[in-house]
């Protein structure tokens, strides 16, 4: 019900709809649909008698929330409980998004507070620069994170990435935000060991990603079992926000932003795609293989992970990406030294991950491809073996992760497009970075002095 109500709000109606609601059973394959037949009168009532809650249009701006308690600590504790009761939290403690803290966060942009970024679907809540700053304030962020968060939200709200659909889906979708350019190191985003997890020396990814999650939930209405039907909801505390390890790129290799959007290296950029899962792939051999043999075996192993009959590929096939492969600088340079450039690796993985037509039919993937909206995707059912994406270039290969040879990391996608956001730095940027160094310690060579 929540999904439909949210969707109505997203279309500009009040958060309300005429619905006939059933438990999940009649919707399953081979189900008994007699409960639907028995409820026929309710369908008629929906067309003839149902009344909406509201008959007025207009902007609904919620007032600030006042919390009273004996002492600041008690007030913060009460605020956290109230946020959970209002379904605004994620279960972890939040900072108070007070005027003072939000104003501090807003030092990270020169855009006006009421600058509109878009509506967050399916609920259709309005995301302004202030709304985004409120989320970052609550999520433990800092002003210098704001340019990346704004850019990431612009990329998420780009209609091409269809966030209204993956917000509500039963798939456990999560946005992946890849940052290129000098801003990554300036704000201490992780590109090395543990880049997808907590790291006190690189806290920016966690705060930015958590802010995105809170925006998708609070403004967009993606509340589990109400506004999002994500069955498992993995990676959703912080999503995935990290930097490409540009210093570790082999000579001649391009960045993700260059590959996808032609943005020159050295320019700040945010690239976003939507993932549905993640796999750690042991790619290294036992160490007794010849280098060429190990390299090729490792790429075969990676391709075998990509070669899965996932219906999500059909959503991404025409213009999106099948997913993002993270490869450490150690592996990238080892492969590059053996003559494997980025294009050759992508082409190899694309070729070796093709799925025989017999398997496409056997696993029911065929029907999903046929149900895709793009004619070129539907036509691809004639291909044997079926490639998991239209072209090798669509595969994202990102040099990132700890400086170690053993693993790759694969994030399979369900993303009709890969989108970008613009990073705009305020004129006080150098001051913000210097203050970050003063307050959090200076980072050099990927290690911060705390």
């Amino acid at each position: 019900m929540g999904v439909v109500r949210n969707a109505m709000a997203g279309l500009g109606f009040d958060q309300d709809a005429s619905m006939v609601v059933f438990p999940i059973a009649p919707f399953l394959v081979g189900s008994d649909i007699s409960p639907v037949e028995a409820a026929f009168d309710r369908f008629v009532e929906g067309l003839t008698e149902w009344q909406p809650r509201s008959r007025e249009t207009g902007l609904r701006q919620p007032p600030k929330v006042r919390i009273e308690a004996n002492g600041f600590e008690a007030a913060l504790d009460r605020m956290n409980r109230q946020f959970l009761m209002n379904a605004w939290g994620d279960g972890l403690p939040l900072n108070a998004p007070s005027e003072e803290r939000v104003s501090w966060i807003l030092e990270g942009t020169e855009l006006p507070r009421d600058h509109l970024l878009g509506k967050v679907m399916p609920r259709g809540g309005i995301a302004t620069v202030e709304t985004v700053a409120v989320s970052l304030a609550a999520a433990g962020g800092r002003p210098e994170y704001l340019p990346v968060l704004i850019a990431a939200m612009e990329a998420i709200l780009d209609p091409a990435i269809e966030h209204d659909k993956w917000q509500a889906t039963s798939g456990s979708t999560f946005p992946v935000v890849i940052v290129n350019g000098p801003i990554a190191q300036q704000i201490r985003l992780n590109s090395g060991f543990g880049l997808l997890g907590p790291d006190p020396q690189h806290p920016a990814g966690a705060s930015i990603g958590r802010s995105i999650r809170l925006l998708l939930q609070n403004v967009g209405g993606a509340l589990p079992a109400v506004g999002t039907m994500a069955m498992f909801g993995g990676m959703r505390y912080t999503n995935a926000v990290f930097a490409e390890d540009e210093d570790g790129l082999p000579e001649g290799w391009t960045t993700v932003a260059e590959d996808r959007f032609g943005i020159p290296r050295g320019t700040n950029a945010v690239t976003v795609f939507v993932a549905t899962g993640a796999s750690n792939i042991v790619r290294r051999g036992v160490g007794k293989e010849a280098p060429d043999e190990e390299a090729e075996q490792s790429l075969h192993r990676v391709a075998s992970y990509l070669r899965s009959p996932s219906s999500h590929y059909s959503h991404s096939w025409a213009r999106g990406t099948p997913g993002g492969l993270l490869m450490s600088r150690t592996v990238a340079n080892q492969l590059a030294g053996l003559g494997w450039d980025k294009e050759r690796i992508k082409t190899f993985l694309w070729e070796k991950s093709r799925i025989p037509a017999s398997e496409v039919r056997e696993t029911g993937l065929y029907q999903w491809i046929k149900a895709a909206p793009e004619p070129e995707t539907i036509a691809s059912t004639e291909m044997d073996p079926w490639p998991i994406t239209r072209t090798p270039e669509q595969l994202i290969l990102c040099v990132a992760g700890g400086h170690h040879p053993t693993h790759n990391f694969w994030m399979q996608a369900m993303t009709p497009q890969v989108t970008r956001g613009e990073i705009r730095l305020p004129s006080n940027w150098d001051m913000l970075v210097a203050r970050g160094d003063e307050e959090l310690g200076i980072c050099e060579g990927g290690v911060c002095e705390i």
Partner: protein, 97 residues
Amino acid sequence: MDALEVFDPSGATEVTRLHAFRLPDLEGKTVAFLSNDMWQSHRMLPMLRNKLAERFDGIRIVAETEFPMGNVPIDRDETVEQVVARNADAVIIGNAS
């Protein structure tokens, strides 16, 4: 007593459209169906169409199969225009799950 004043993190919403008024009766009316072609809609919607036709004199049904089907196609403005062009008085959309 200390007080904290914080922003409501859910942000603003704007209602720009109102729901259509309900019909007094379905007799003689045109009811269109739209389908995302999921969740057994291929069984439920025909059943509902048949029951509507049996119950209401002069009702005209425009089946979901006469419009584009699927989550993306039914979300397009062109599909809405097709429904309007068929002079539909009401629309039943299915299925969400």
